[in-house]
């Protein structure tokens, strides 16, 4: 009848709101609804005209008023005038007795409208939900407002009009109309409203058994009606008892089919009873028809009140029961949901999220459900898991932030968001509603998934076929679901992160060429890479996961393996934190020959301590190093020999001096011996001098031999100060010959002991000093000053400065002096400084030339101080 009446109650947790317009109805829809109302009004008026006892004006049963009432209950108030106007032509067109004046017909239209307005107005005012009769309170409001008060009030106008314009007795009219309209309102209005509101759902949704029972009920009504019309006439107490005949069937309808069943059955009963009375049939046949009809009206009306009340009460109980069951079902469902996610590994969660979204969608009779994730705070929401009801397209997996700005804004504030087509939707949600419409959806609830103070994502629930009202209660329950999803998502995120970390760690470990093992504080192996177990030196002891590496090493140390005995305190010292790192280079016989390894122990920086032990195969590096060292030594030797060539004059002088002393003294001694008596005192003193000179010569030769020795690289503790003094002594004559004034400024307060090869370091100093002297070859004799200084630049190293007063170096030369074969001398090889650099770097030191000097050149090198010898 009304095109706007929709009331699909398809979902079990609540009802949709039939008054909320899904969309504004079109003019066409309103017009067709108005035509339906007019037709119904016309049909009802015809029926009412048939059920009349002429010459009385009021009918026994007058449906038009009730049809109007039902229409007004179903339609929004702002369109009441449309339907009231639509009824006017139907009212004018209805078959009226020939003696009725047009003014009377018009006034009757007004009184009919007034009754409908009073009835619908009072129900809307006091019952709230005008189309529902499912609680005792709503039914009570209806019975009092629409059933009794509306006919009561409107009958005064009606009776006055009829008596004035038609000449009927006032109270006669009032009485007839009142009882007639009370019965019609009470039976027809709920029947029409409930049928329109619920018929489609009942037909599609009710079970077969319910339908069979309804059919049986209808059959029973027919049987009882037949009994009433054609049965024996001698039942005492008729016509009241005649209604009693219908009572079992009416009770059955009220108890089993609620207000709709009760009102439909009452309507049928009223029609049967009144028809029977009018045709003087049935149990009231013996009475005058008017009295009989009145008796039927009164008894049926009286009967309707408790029956409808009972029906609504039962309906109310049933609904409460349903609500309770639903809540219990939901709680059970919720606990299943929580249980499902508690023990789930994160890699199984993807499937579980989709499964449970589907179950949630089915439980709530939704069309779409989706879980969105927001990976970083303030980041976009991206559809991660979706479900769609069969026949409904899924939500596309994409970012939705741009399409739903208002929703996203609310989610970020950890508030739920409801978007629907309802007219009361917030204006700011306009863009969201438009996006929803594009998806063909009608309503959406989005709940933030919050865990650990962060919005991890959102749960979005969408309806397409129905318009779901997201009541506060429902949203509250769904927030519990969201909480479970949020916790699961948070756990998944952290487990995924942990697993990613584990995977990365394992990948890094596996990619290492070294054998790497991670020890805990006590030395237990807690992680290894694959090479660890294949590592040749590990074949002797079990060092797999769970073994105690430190204990295994201690055991080997006790068995007398000196290398391990050396390593144990090192590993232990890193584990107990007394040492920052420990490393040990060692060689080890393997089936493939001797190989070299470096063991490095570094601490694990975490509260529970531990260390990472790695053994790296450095054989190739070591071979290359040895090769380089050998080349360097050979080259160094060559340059030393060539340097000696340059020094020949000086060395000759250095040796000739003591030789001259010895020869002269010896010849003098011979003369003293020839004297009589020989001068023994003088002889003794001569011998002392000869011995001194001999030693002096031997020293020179020793130093030369040292310098020219083609020695192996030997790491020793070397005192740089002493070394510098030796070199300067060796060059002493040369400095004299070249007129160079050598000044030494050596650090004496603190030791200048480094760890290195004495010959090689000597060569560095020699090269630098020779270089400086060469640089001053063309300087004025008075301006040839050479300074060699040692100093501590920092607590861990010592620096040596060799400074001259020559012409200095230009910018280009500064960059190139250490390059091999770079020379400015016609006779030089250009290797001296290159060799110096390679030696210093082999000693973990650095050598450089100081720039930006007004005159002369200054070379510096720095070497790490030797550690104090461990006792």
């Amino acid at each position: 009848m009304s095109g706007e009446a929709r009331g699909e109650d398809m979902e079990p947790t609540g009802r949709t709101d039939p008054t909320a317009p899904l969309s504004a109805p079109s003019v066409r829809q309103i017009v067709s609804a108005a035509i339906v109302v007019a037709v119904a009004y016309f049909a009802g008026a015809n029926l009412g005209a048939l059920l009349r006892f002429p010459p009385a004006t009021p009918s026994v049963l007058w449906p038009p008023n009730s049809i109007l009432t039902a229409t007004l209950l179903l339609a929004p108030t702002r369109r009441w005038w449309v339907y009231l106007l639509a009824a006017l032509p139907a009212h004018l067109a209805m078959p009226a007795p020939p003696d009725w004046r047009e003014s009377l017909i018009l006034v009757l239209y007004l009184t009919n409208c007034s009754e409908a307005l009073i009835a619908a107005g009072s129900v809307r005012a006091f019952a709230g939900e005008p189309t529902r009769f499912d609680t005792l309170r709503r039914m009570g409001v209806f019975l009092v407002g629409a059933g009794l008060f509306a006919p009561f009030a409107s009958c005064f106008f009606d009776a006055a009009a009829v008596s004035l314009l038609h000449g009927d007795a006032y109270w006669e009219v009032w009485r007839t109309r009142f009882f007639s309209n009370v019965l019609t309102e009470m039976t027809l209005v709920p029947a029409v409203v409930l049928v329109i509101a619920n018929a489609r759902e009942w037909i599609t949704g009710a079970g077969v058994r319910a339908k069979i029972e309804a059919a049986l009920l209808a059959l029973s009504l027919v049987v009882v009606g037949g009994l009433y019309a054609f049965g024996p006439r001698a039942i005492p107490g008729a016509p009241v008892s005649s209604v009693a005949l219908f009572l079992p069937v009416l009770l059955w309808a009220a108890v089993r089919f609620g207000p709709a069943g009760a009102s439909l059955s009452l309507l049928a009963t009223a029609l049967i009873a009144i028809c029977g009375g009018m045709h003087a049939r049935g149990l009231i046949g013996k009475m005058p028809p008017a009295d009989g009809v009145l008796a039927v009206q009164i008894s049926l009306s009286l009967c309707a009140v408790p029956l409808l009340g009972l029906a609504s009460l039962i309906e109310e109980r049933r609904r409460d029961q349903q609500d309770l069951t639903r809540r219990l079902t939901f709680e059970k469902w919720l606990s299943e949901l929580s249980g499902a996610f508690v023990h789930l590994a994160s890699d199984q969660m993807d499937e579980a999220f989709e499964t449970w979204l589907g179950r949630l969608g089915q439980l709530l009779a939704l069309d779409r459900a989706a879980l969105l994730r927001s990976c970083q705070s303030g980041g976009p929401f991206i559809v991660a898991y979706t479900w769609a009801a069969p026949g409904i397209g899924p939500i596309p997996r994409a970012s939705v932030s741009a399409d739903y700005p208002w929703t996203v804004e609310r989610l970020r504030r950890e508030e739920p968001s409801i978007v629907s087509e309802a007219v009361d939707a917030p204006v700011e949600a306009g863009a969201d509603a438009a996006s929803l419409r594009r998806l063909g959806a009608r309503s959406m609830l989005a709940l933030p998934l919050v865990a650990g103070g962060r919005v991890l994502g959102a749960l979005a629930l969408v309806t397409v076929r129905t318009h779901l009202v997201w009541t506060a209660e429902r949203v509250g329950r769904l927030q519990l679901v969201a909480e479970v999803f949020a916790n699961a998502l948070a756990r998944k995120e952290s487990e995924d992160a942990l697993r990613a970390g584990e995977a990365m760690k394992s990948a890094i470990l596996s990619s290492l060429h070294s054998s790497v093992g991670v020890l805990d504080r006590d030395g237990l192996v807690i992680a290894t890479n694959p090479d660890w177990c294949q590592f040749p030196p590990h074949h002797a002891v079990p060092e797999g996961l769970g073994a105690n590496y430190l204990d295994a090493c201690r055991q080997m140390a006790r068995e007398g393996i000196p290398l391990v005995a050396q390593a144990v305190p090192g590993i232990a010292s890193v584990l107990d934190g007394s040492r920052v790192t420990y490393s040990l280079e060692y060689s080890c016989g393997t089936p493939a020959g001797e190989r070299w390894y470096v063991m490095t122990v570094v601490p694990l920086h975490r509260p529970e301590g531990g260390a990472v032990v790695s053994h790296a195969d450095v054989t190739e590096r070591r071979r290359a190093e040895l090769e380089a060292q050998r080349s360097r030594q050979e080259l160094a030797h060559v340059t030393r020999v060539s340097a000696m060539g340059e020094l020949t004059a000086s060395l000759a002088h250095e040796l000739n001096q003591p030789l001259a002393g010895i020869l002269t003294n010896a010849q003098a001694a011979r003369r003293f011996l020839e004297m009589t008596p020989p001068d023994v005192r003088e002889l003794r003193s001569i011998l002392v001098d000869i011995v001194e000179d001999d030693k002096r010569a031997a020293d020179v030769i020793q130093r030369l031999r040292d310098l020219l020795r083609k020695g192996e690289f030997q790491m020793r503790r070397v005192d740089l100060n002493g070394l510098i003094r030796d070199v300067v002594k060796l060059l002493g004559s040369d400095t004299v010959i070249r007129n160079v004034l050598v000044a030494l400024d050596l650090e004496e307060r603190r030791p200048t002991i480094v760890s290195g090869d004495r010959v090689q370091l000597q060569q560095v100093v020699l090269n630098l000093v020779l270089n400086a002297m060469d640089a001053m070859a063309d300087s004025p004799v008075a301006d040839r000053n050479l300074l060699v200084r040692t100093e501590h630049s920092d607590p861990e190293s010592v620096e040596v400065l060799v400074e001259d007063t020559g012409p200095g170096l230009d910018k280009d030369a500064e960059a190139l002096v250490f390059e091999p074969f770079y020379t400015t001398k016609s006779t030089g090889m250009g290797m001296g400084l290159a060799i110096a650099r390679s030696i210093i770097e082999a000693h973990d030191g650095a050598i450089w030339v100081e720039g930006k000097r007004s005159r002369g050149a200054a070379f510096r090198f720095r070497l790490p101080l030797a550690e104090e010898p461990v006792e």
Binding site: Q657, A660, G661, N665
Partner: protein, 135 residues
């Protein structure tokens, strides 16, 4: 060997060489005065005649050649025998041109030295000072 005792001044920075020379020259009857440097010689030498100077070429500070030049510049014509721990030909030529009696390379034989000293003393005549040496 003819011995003509005179005074021999020895200037050498090397103590051992200096003492050896001193002993050897004394043993053959010369009077010897030795000095560790040119400066010592200039400040402390006596005025004995005849005399000669045994002078080391390479010394820290003023070298032997410098000293000889200074002496010549001051008009002192004392005969000089140069000795050196290493000698090269240019240096020897320069020394001889400048009027040295001899140029000896260490270590040298006593005969060579004593012969040179004798020659030098023979050249030194009292009253010669200020006169150019005989050609």
């Amino acid at each position: 060997m003819m011995e003509r005792p005179g005074t021999v001044f020895v200037v050498d920075d090397d103590l051992s060489v200096r003492r050896g020379l001193e002993r050897l020259l004394r043993a053959v009857g010369h009077r010897v005065e030795s000095f560790g440097s040119a400066r010592e010689f200039l400040e402390q030498r006596s005025d004995q005649r005849p005399a000669c100077l045994v002078l080391d070429v390479r010394m820290p500070g003023q070298t032997g050649l410098d000293l000889r030049d200074d002496l010549q510049a001051a008009g002192c014509r004392i005969p000089v025998i140069f000795i050196t721990g290493h000698g090269d030909i240019p240096m020897a030529v320069q020394a001889m041109k400048a009027g040295a009696v001899d140029f000896l390379t260490k270590p040298f034989d006593e005969d060579v030295l004593l012969h040179a000293v004798d020659q030098a003393l023979a050249r030194d005549h009292p009253g010669d000072a200020g006169r150019p040496p005989p050609e």
